[in-house]
Amino acid sequence: MTPWLVIGGMGVITFATRLSLILLAGRVTLPAIVWRAMRFVAPAVLAALVVSPILQPAGTLDLSAGNERLLAATLAGIVAWRANNALLTIGLGMAALWILQWVRP
């Protein structure tokens, strides 16, 4: 499968979700539970995307202090929770990883 086909498919799917009810409003109705569930899509998907590369950097669960990415992400998580600032979270997380690497080569 070439990247082009995948990207074309992604484009069609994304556009379809955006156009869906602008075009179909009044003609289709979705069950109420679907609407209520949709607001949990973002927190659920994002949480799943965060934990895997941080807790399982090499494929297996690594909760040891040797997992530098876990340490840096924990700091970034605290910053994110307190400040709720994207750039600060990313900046301090990256800086923490660089410092940890430099201190323990």
């Binding site: 499968m1 979700t17 955006r18 995307l49």
Partner: protein, 228 residues
């Protein structure tokens, strides 16, 4: 009295603060796409063909993990489900417009453009006869051009960034920052925790179906927490 021109410019103005926040994400996406093994041409084209930051980041991660096309496409659908909500809430405002406007504004319907546009449509002190679709177009195009240029810059500069910088770590950090912004109440936190635990437990499943499974479990737990 507001003209199409003044609405268009007001849309751009309202979008400006968001552009500051979006630019670094465009740069990071461009650099990460190359690192994930996506050639520069398709990586750049994704920004105009797909034009959805979170879906592009997720696809980049799945590409580098060697996930099959079907998983990437299904994940794109799951990540973009929220756009159906945006589409529904824009629909009544766009109903009188010609189809070309509906298609164009649907293409430009991102999180950032939706946020400022729906606020403008909801503003009560504004005359209802105002051509507000020009406002939506201004906000949408401002974001579109910023996303295209920052992505291109990321692709150009990305190839020159040494691997020791571990730029790929910026991706989980980006998701972490977006995750924090999405945790607006207790049910949302419950959905995130359930999805995170599921993702770790399901990590050994093939084709990274763990991500979709985690999303579905998270949504179910969110609904359950809301009812309590």
């Amino acid at each position: 009295m507001s003209s199409p021109r003044s609405e268009f410019l007001a849309g751009i103005r309202a979008e400006l603060p968001l552009l500051l926040g979006v630019t670094p994400f465009g740069l990071i996406y461009g650099a990460l796409a190359l690192e994930a093994g996506i050639p520069a041409g398709p990586a750049l084209a994704m920004s105009s063909l797909v034009f959805a930051g979170s879906a592009q980041f997720v696809a980049t991660q799945l590409f580098s993990a060697g996930a099959p096309a079907a998983v990437i496409l299904f994940t794109t659908l799951v990540v973009n489900l929220r756009h159906i909500l945006y589409s529904a809430s824009m629909a009544p405002h766009l109903r009188p417009l010609r189809p070309i406007w509906k298609w164009l504004l649907a293409y430009l319907l991102t999180d950032e453009a939706y946020a400022v546009t729906i606020t403008h449509y909801g503003a009560r002190d504004h005359p209802s006869t105002a051509p507000k679709h020009w406002y939506a177009l201004g906000a949408g195009l401002a974001l579109w051009s910023t996303w295209q240029t920052s992505t291109a810059a990321g692709i150009l500069l990305g190839a020159q960034i040494p691997p020791v910088w571990q730029l790929d770590f910026a991706l989980p950090l980006t998701f972490l920052a977006l995750l924090r912004a999405s945790l607006t109440d207790r049910p949302a936190v419950a959905a995130a925790v359930a999805a995170g635990v599921t993702a770790v437990l399901a990590a050994s499943l093939p084709f990274r179906v763990g991500l979709v499974l985690a999303a579905l479990v998270g949504m179910a737990v969110g609904l359950w927490a809301e009812r309590r």
